[in-house]
């Protein structure tokens, strides 16, 4: 998703040519991801053999850093762009496969808690972003896009809403740039704050899933803390993503009522069209495991396949983040986004701490 600011859309004439066109970029994602894994192992081994106290830097962070360095120095060459843009596919594939690592009872328990927190988070985020947007005199549709992006799922939600409310390309670019820049910052700030607060894996995972907007960055922020936190972050973020259709529909109806967007004729079809279908895949996979369709080793294999898919995603997060391109979008949407995100991060942290006291996460 972050690719949107730096990677051009690549047209192709035939499916075969399209498939061949993505190969170099996918290989680049794999090379960077594997380099991240190698560096984690290398530094850990080196530090241990020399009796150094060196913090464990996870492969996730290495892969993102290498991607960021390439994207913000030499840039992503055209030959790689189509393949690098596939990282959202790897993210969704990883999430569906991750369903195999959840027992359905956990999904229902944590998913239920997540849903309750998500409803509060979305309501407050929408109100807060609308207030801040009006305070800073942003354009009304840009405010709607920022509110949708920060309350649900970042760039996907902005893309879904853009067509539904007839927003300008420029407004969508502004909103996406703000959400992406803040997502990149969250990768470094969320784990640091959580370590400072000694949060447990489940609490932190919930916080990352609720507080970080873009699904790829939320997944990475969770995985940066621990494997278990990464799983919970994906679950919480998935619960949040499930609301995309409802919120976009509400905004579409509002703007149609203002005479500034097309009316929604079939609301059920609209909801289904906007619903992220990979969530159904995630639940189905969890259901299969619940019915013992796979042996323990097979579940471990599916979990590892999910990790490989995420590895490509994390490389893509770095490669798709170009701060120069983002800075061209202007400062005001970024300030509104930053203010809102800091407040939302504080609110979601409070929600998770409260949930931990009530339900003992």
């Amino acid at each position: 998703m972050a690719t949107s600011t730096s990677i051009a859309h690549v047209e192709s004439e035939s499916p075969l040519r399209h498939a061949l066109g993505i190969v170099p970029g996918v290989l680049l994602l794999a090379a960077i991801g594997y380099a991240g894994k190698f560096l984690e192992h290398f530094f850990n081994t080196y530090a241990k053999s020399h009796h150094w106290t060196f913090p464990n830097i996870e492969y996730v962070l290495w892969a993102i850093i290498i991607g960021l360095l390439i994207s913000n120095t030499v840039g992503v060459a055209k030959v790689f762009q189509a393949g690098v843009a596939t990282y959202e596919f790897w993210l969704k594939l990883g999430i569906v496969l991750l369903g195999a690592r959840f027992v359905l009872a956990d999904v229902l328990k944590l998913g239920g808690i997540s849903l309750a927190l998500v409803v509060i988070e979305i309501t407050v985020s929408l109100a807060l972003m609308t207030f801040l947007g009006r305070l800073f005199k942003l354009k009304p549709k840009l405010i709607s896009l920022l509110a949708i992006g920060s309350s649900i799922c970042g760039v996907s939600a902005i893309i879904a809403a853009k067509g539904a409310i007839d927003a300008d390309d420029e407004d969508a670019s502004f909103a996406m740039a703000a959400i992406l820049a803040l997502g990149a910052l969250a990768l470094f700030t969320f784990p640091a704050i959580a370590h400072g607060l000694h949060m447990n894996d489940v609490s932190y995972g919930l916080w990352a899933g609720l507080g970080v907007d873009n699904t790829a960055e939320a997944t990475a922020a969770g995985a940066l803390y621990s494997d278990a936190a990464g799983k919970v972050a994906v679950l919480a973020k998935t619960a949040r993503n499930a609301f995309i259709g409802f919120v976009v529909l509400a905004y579409a109806i509002y703007w149609a009522g203002q005479g500034k967007a097309e009316a929604v004729t079939n609301k059920a079809a609209f909801l289904w069209r906007k619903f992220p279908k990979f969530i159904l895949g995630f639940l189905f996979m969890s259901l299969l495991v619940g019915f013992h369709a796979f042996s323990k080793d097979q579940v471990a294999s599916l979990g590892n396949l999910s990790k490989w898919a995420f590895l490509l995603t994390f490389a893509g997060v770095g490669l798709g983040t170009n701060f120069r391109v983002m800075s061209r979008q202007g400062l005001r949407p970024f300030i509104v986004g930053a203010l809102g995100e800091v407040l939302i991060a504080g609110l979601t942290l409070g929600l998770v701490v409260g949930a931990n006291r009530i339900w003992g996460l």
Partner: protein, 40 residues
């Protein structure tokens, strides 16, 4: 501009649908032994 529009392997199905199809294909491959013990 969005990655969603450029990344699916084919244009007739959505990215989400492709992700689910590929995941199910991998799950079947693991289930029936075509993919044995995937390492990490």
């Amino acid at each position: 501009m969005p990655a969603d529009k450029s990344s699916p392997p084919a244009r007739s199905l959505s990215l989400d649908t492709w992700a689910v199809i590929v995941a199910l294909a991998l799950a079947l491959a693991v289930k029936f032994g075509a993919l044995k013990s995937v390492p990490w």
